[in-house]
């Protein structure tokens, strides 16, 4: 604030200060600013710009306003795939929110029990799948669920659920859920660790006080611990959201760019890839690719803004 008043009163001093911007600060900042601007911010801005252009057969581009978005949302050749990918992505995200973050919360609760023997061994092993490449995880589960190998069926048989088994990855009705659960299986370690750290931060006095006042373990969880880790749950949610609406590797590894069967596992990431690079008979289009990318950017920004202004502001951060 004082800067602004100073600006109004003494414009001469502003010029003076700017001309003497300390060299060493510039030297420290320049490499990061240049690389980040050129290879991260510029491409994003340029992608948004490209989405307002369309190319013809000769490769010449001309400004076409919002017509790409109009095509994407209404042209039958595009809109069906777009809405399908968006719908599948929402299902993908909902499964992560409920199953991944639910299991993560449960495991974190168990791991944060006082004087748990072997806690660090459990943590290390449970986090292991998260460290591996999504592609590798995709192939591992493709083999596990392969009816030819039949190992999943054999294990299900052993616990009496053998009749449930089917070619889950190959059926239109189950492929998306199966792929989502593979992703959940891999990334459950992240919410687990973040929530675990938050639970450890709650001082014991608080829990003791509640217990002394007669609260059972369930009330302690529901009325003391859960409210205190809400900010962390918010962070976990937005991280899940951004990662899910940007996902690509797993579907590509398991189902290929066509996200079969019959596009039932198609999410925005694979739709973007096909639009940009083309597939089968359709030629890839950089401008339509940029349009899909911009649409994804808008979706992610909406999510981030809802989090920043709708969720984070209302959550009181507790510091002890």
């Amino acid at each position: 604030m004082s800067d602004i008043t100073a600006l109004g009163v003494q414009p001469a001093e502003r010029v003076f200060a700017r001309s003497r911007f300390p060299l060493h600060i510039a030297v420290f900042l320049a490499p990061a600013l240049v690389i980040y601007t050129v290879f991260s911010i510029y491409p994003l801005v340029d992608t948004i710009r490209l989405s307002f252009y369309s190319g013809d057969e000769t490769g010449a581009r001309h400004f076409s306003g919002l017509s790409n978005f109009y095509t994407l949302l209404t042209d039958p050749a595009w809109s069906g795939h777009f809405w399908n990918a968006l719908k599948n992505n929402l299902i993908f995200f909902s499964i992560h929110m409920v199953v991944q973050n639910g299991i993560g919360l449960g495991l974190a609760m168990l791991l944060s029990l006082p004087r748990l023997t072997g806690g660090s061994v459990y943590r290390t092993l449970l986090f292991l799948p998260t460290m591996l490449s999504v592609v590798i995880i995709g192939f591992i589960w493709q083999l596990m669920l392969n009816p030819l190998w039949g190992i999943a069926e054999k294990i299900l048989d052993a616990v009496g659920l053998g009749s449930f088994f089917g070619p889950w990855l190959g059926q239109e009705s189950t492929a998306l859920i199966t792929v989502s659960l593979i992703s959940v299986w891999q990334f459950v370690g992240i919410p687990m660790m973040l929530i675990y750290a938050a639970l450890l931060n709650i001082p014991d006095d608080l829990l003791d006080a509640a217990t002394v006042d007669g609260a059972g373990p369930f009330s302690v969880f529901w009325f003391v611990r859960l409210p205190l880790i809400l900010p962390t749950l918010g962070v976990v949610s937005i991280l899940t959201f951004v990662a899910n609406f940007n996902a690509f590797d797993l579907i590509y590894a398991v189902k290929g760019a066509l996200a079969g069967p019959n596009f039932s596992t198609d999410i925005l990431g694979t739709f973007f890839y096909r639009t940009f690079f083309g597939y089968q008979l359709q030629v890839g289009s950089p401008t339509m690719g940029a349009t899909v990318a911009t649409a994804m950017l808008i979706i992610i920004l909406i999510g981030v803004l809802i989090y920043l202004f709708g969720v984070q502001r209302r959550l009181q951060r507790h510091t002890f």
Binding site: I25, V27, P31, I35, Y122, M131, D204, V220, V242, I300
Partner: protein
């Protein structure tokens, strides 16, 4: 909190052990079966390899039919150089943003933070075009530049919070002695932030090593594939050769597994420390 009664304890351990089996089991199965004959893979998938069923034929095929060693070197080069640059450049920027008060400080900090939430992947159309113009397609340089740009925002955030905790006395004393700002950074600050490097490494190294997207669009051929892409291409080609598929997966898992079991304590600590902030 009141310690749980004994039956409760046992139930907790049973739940954790069951979930641990679910988490580690599939990975273990791949590793076990990679060393078995094709017949044993199918007849006894859960058994360990023994004298009769042990074979390394899958590995022989992977090394004969693909440049796995080269892919590994590519991945290692990209990951190590990117991480080194992210830490050095990120620390310089974090130092400038936390230590000095100057015009535009807050705006630059906010500008750098955009990259934490907005995935750089969405700029791929322009990134590819730029790399074509710069003649960098199918080079590791393209990957390194993109990964550095992608890793910087979070690195600056984490390193900045760490630098803030370093006592002011040290640098003030150095300044009184007339030491230059560059030497204060190089000889005092850099050595002091080594503990934070583990945290930065967790958040940047693993995604770089595992990434499929940028190798796929920027460096898909010419022997510049990374391990992730190389394995993806190899399995696509030899999908029916179970020995070779299992062996290639094992080769991709093994280095991460060894590294993780050695450094898991630092990784987990870094992750939880980052979360507390």
């Amino acid at each position: 909190m009141r310690p749980l009664a004994r039956p409760g304890r046992i139930a907790v351990h049973i739940a954790l052990i069951l979930y641990t089996i679910l988490a580690v089991g599939p990975i273990a199965l791949i590793l076990i079966n990679a060393f078995k004959t094709r017949r044993a893979i199918f007849s006894d998938p859960l058994g360990f390899p023994d004298a009769r069923t042990f074979t390394t034929i899958g590995f022989d095929q992977v090394f004969a039919k693909s440049d796995f060693g080269l892919y590994f070197v590519n991945s290692l080069t990209v990951t190590v150089i990117s991480l080194g640059l992210i830490i050095l450049i990120g620390a310089m920027a974090a130092w400038a943003l936390t230590e000095y008060r100057f015009r535009g400080n807050t705006i630059i900090a906010l500008y750098m933070a955009i990259g934490i939430m907005v995935p750089i992947r969405l700029g791929s159309v322009s990134i590819l075009r730029m790399m074509v113009d710069l003649n960098l397609v199918n080079t590791l340089t393209a990957l390194i530049l993109v990964y550095v740009a992608q890793g910087l925002p979070l690195a600056i955030l984490i390193l900045g919070e760490f630098i803030q905790q370093i006592p002011k006395d040290l640098r003030d004393a150095a300044r009184c002695d007339g030491v230059s700002e560059y030497r204060i950074f190089g000889s005092i600050i850099l050595p002091l932030i080594t503990p934070a490097i583990a945290t930065v490494a967790v958040f940047t190294m693993v995604p770089i090593w595992n990434d499929l997207w940028f190798p796929l669009i920027l460096a898909p051929g010419d022997g510049k594939q990374t391990v992730t892409l190389g394995v993806q291409q190899f399995i696509g080609q030899y999908v029916t050769d179970w020995n070779a598929v299992l062996a290639s997966l094992t080769l991709a898992i093994a280095p991460i597994l060894v590294l993780y079991l050695f450094f898991s304590r630092y990784l987990v600590r870094g992750l939880t420390a980052g979360a507390v902030k």
